[in-house]
């Protein structure tokens, strides 16, 4: 199926080729087609291809999930550069542990648990104030500037408040509210007793409520 797709794809682009260097053009186009075919594969198929030795398939998984993984790390560690480092490390860990991934389950939550753990480890090593010093980008200012400013202020407020929580509380909030995990799943991910998960979460909410009331 994949070979058939590839030959169809290459035939399609070769029909329009008028270059004087057909071999080079063919190679470039073939590589482009191979990439295009990978982008159409499901995550589970890409994992299978990676396990069969196709590293490009893992590259496609990275391109597909790097933004969501980066955002998980960003919400826990705060600093953009740290978040990039954590994301990169998480993908390498994921590659090493790929054989243990159950392909009947979605890939993103599995990856996010690795990111969350690495981010938590890093955040716990950092001083709590370090992560508060970074400015965040203000998005969507062009379409409706006034609304954009309000949204950005609200976003900034939420971020500042979340980043004032202890890292373990932040990680629990991330997994509960952004990854929609149950108490048991969070407990398994962070290797914490369920009672600690509940305690962190409830106290985090209490503190956030308090922080929001202060800024209103």
């Amino acid at each position: 199926m994949q070979l058939f797709d590839a030959s169809q794809c290459i035939q399609g682009v070769m029909g329009n080729t008028t270059s004087l260097r057909p071999a080079l053009t063919w190679t470039v186009r073939a590589a482009h087609c191979a990439m295009e075919i990978l982008t159409k594969q499901t995550d589970a198929r890409l994992v299978t291809l990676t396990l069969q030795g196709d590293r490009d398939a893992f590259g496609e998984l990275v391109r597909r999930h790097q933004t969501s993984a980066y955002n998980v790390a960003r919400r826990i560690v705060g600093d953009p550069q740290d978040a990039l480092d954590v994301t990169q490390d998480a993908f390498v860990r994921a590659y090493d542990a790929l054989a243990s991934f159950d392909r009947r389950r979605p890939f993103a939550p599995w990856l996010h648990t690795i990111v969350a753990n690495l981010a938590l480890n890093l955040a716990q090593r950092r001083r709590p104030t370090e992560s508060l010093e970074h400015d965040f980008e203000i998005s969507d200012m062009t379409t409706n500037p006034e609304r954009g400013i309000l949204a950005a202020e609200q976003q900034q407020r939420v971020r500042q408040a979340l980043l004032q929580l202890p890292p373990a509380w932040r990680a629990v909030v991330e997994l509960r509210h952004f990854q929609d995990m149950s108490y048991q799943e969070i407990s398994d991910t962070l290797n914490l007793p369920v009672s600690d998960v509940k305690s962190h979460l409830f106290r985090a909410r209490q503190k956030l409520k308090h922080l929001f009331e202060q800024t209103e």
Binding site: T42, A44, L162
Partner: protein
Amino acid sequence: MNHLDNPTINLYLDDALDAVARARADAHLAVCPVCAGELASLRALTTSFDAWQTEPIPHDLSVRVMQRVAQRPAPVNVSRWGAFLLAAQTLVAVGLFIWLLPILTRLLAQLTNISLPSVALNPFPDVSVWIGPLGVALPSFDIWVWGLVLGGGAVVWLVVNRLILSSLNRPLETSK
């Protein structure tokens, strides 16, 4: 009136109360504006997290990740079936080693005319007793028979290994 405590309100928010406790909390929330207000403020808090929009990643990590991945060994997919086969194969290998060692050392001593200490000729006396007649009968084969047996065994071994390895990376049903 006894208000709902903080953990109960949080568990209610997360839909983590059992049916009885939830019904009790529902009944209380219907008549208690304080607890209803507390629950509403927690709901507003969790809704406010939506304000944290997804940020674009500052730069593509795929090239850097692939460079690091290229330096690492390829991941090996050991399925449960594959792990069982490998464990069984290891057990058989250890068993064969224990069984064959006294026979092979005896043959080696005969071939090289070196007198080995008794412990080398019979390092596993209990096993030798257990395998009994077969262990006694086999050393009577000459070296060519043994070569054939061991060579054939090695070929079978390699074929089985190849089959196990090819079964390890078999594709599963795909689902995104």
